[in-house]
Amino acid sequence: MKFIKTHVSLIFPLMAILLGLEFFIVFDRTTDTFEKNLQNGYSMMVVSKDEMSIDDFKSWDKHIEQVIELEKVKILERLQMTKEDEKKMKFQDSLPNFYSLKLDGYLTVPELEKVKSNLEKSDNILSIESFQSAYQSKYELFSFIKFAFQTFILFMSIISFFLILKQMEVWNFLHAQRMKIMEIFGASLFLRSKVLINMALIDAVISALITSAIFYVIQNVWVRGSQMDILRDNVDAMFAFTDILILLVASIFVVMVAVYLVVVNVKEE
């Protein structure tokens, strides 16, 4: 019972940190895809007097990555003008040039305004439509969710870290006497810490495996069967086998720091 209690009281806070880390990794991966989709779905509309190349646009702002010219013929088709229409050619010649601009990333609203103001400096550009209000509402919602989630993970990690420190005090109490006796008889630091290191490593491996199993189950049972498109679309981002390695390394790192803190705090009597 004592053995289980000793292990569980380290495994739980360690798992809380690992869950936080894995949630962060999954969230980052998922939002990265979402961010790319938002970026791909967004374009800025520009109207210019004369034709402009991508280099012309880039000379005004470096964030412009791709330029798609909207063909005038298609615009006329939309206006339901026939080929026979005599006025068509004249009208076509008098039409300005329309461009759809793609940006190099998902920019913040102030960054977007900066791009717009840079382009407005060109005498050739007649009008710019940035669809800022739609962009802004999506961006703010996205930023808010990201911020809330990251704050929650940070808060959870801080509490877990304090729980681990508390557990270290218990470890210190449990192992200090043995380590002091061993030191008197000439044991090296490694030998003195060996029991503690073994125990911590076992707990680290158990915590990493349980956390991985939780995410594997979430991915394959809950997310795959979910009715929500956003979850189903990101099912592969939920858990990757490389995550086991990341969790294991993180877990071992945390416990080794903890062991070190215990060992250096044991002073010879």
């Binding site: 006497q177 043995r178 006796i181 061993m182 008197i184 008889f185 000439g186 044991a187 090296s188 009597e269």
Partner: protein, 224 residues
Amino acid sequence: MSNVITANNLTLSYDSEEEIIKNANFSIKKGDFVFITGPSGSGKSTLLKSFYGNLTPDDGALVVGGLDMIDIKKDKLQELRSHLGIVFQDYRLINEWTVEKNVVLPLWISGYSEEVQKTQAKRLLHHVKLSGKEEKYPMELSGGEQQRVGVARALAKNPFLILADEPTGNLDEYSSNVIWDLMENACHQLDTTVVVVTHRIPMVFNIPYRHFTIDENGSVYEIH
């Protein structure tokens, strides 16, 4: 005969505050049995601690086993300690380890094989009359038995020097006599140097010994 411990103008204190041992001069030779006595708080245990590097001298010189204890490096200190046998009044056994594992602690630290450890444990426990208690835990033994485990641990690696701090302080007369017999034998038969801090020298002691005493001012004298 070569000196095992040499002190020249040795001064000891905790945190360089009040000096506990002042300008002590003495030498202890191989095979000596030394009692250190003195009133409570005179610095007997402090002096003993300096012999195994638990306390660094403030001034003077202290050489133990050929090593200067003032500038001793950590690895040298570990090596020195692995060749010492130390016995404490409060036994200092590892309670979560069995008697056998406690006895062979110095051998385990020095990396001896499990086979050697088993053989030595059996021999030592027979020597301290605790055969059959290998798998017991310290808390299952009486105070006298625990101290015998402590002595067996101190003898495990045939140390050149045994340091004992009030080894019979918590024991009844019978258990005390057993411990003194073991110490006498270690000194007489194995030619091991033994230094014992005690309040009272036993009435019956069968081998020659030296007697150091520390007065209330921290001065160390040898009584002839």
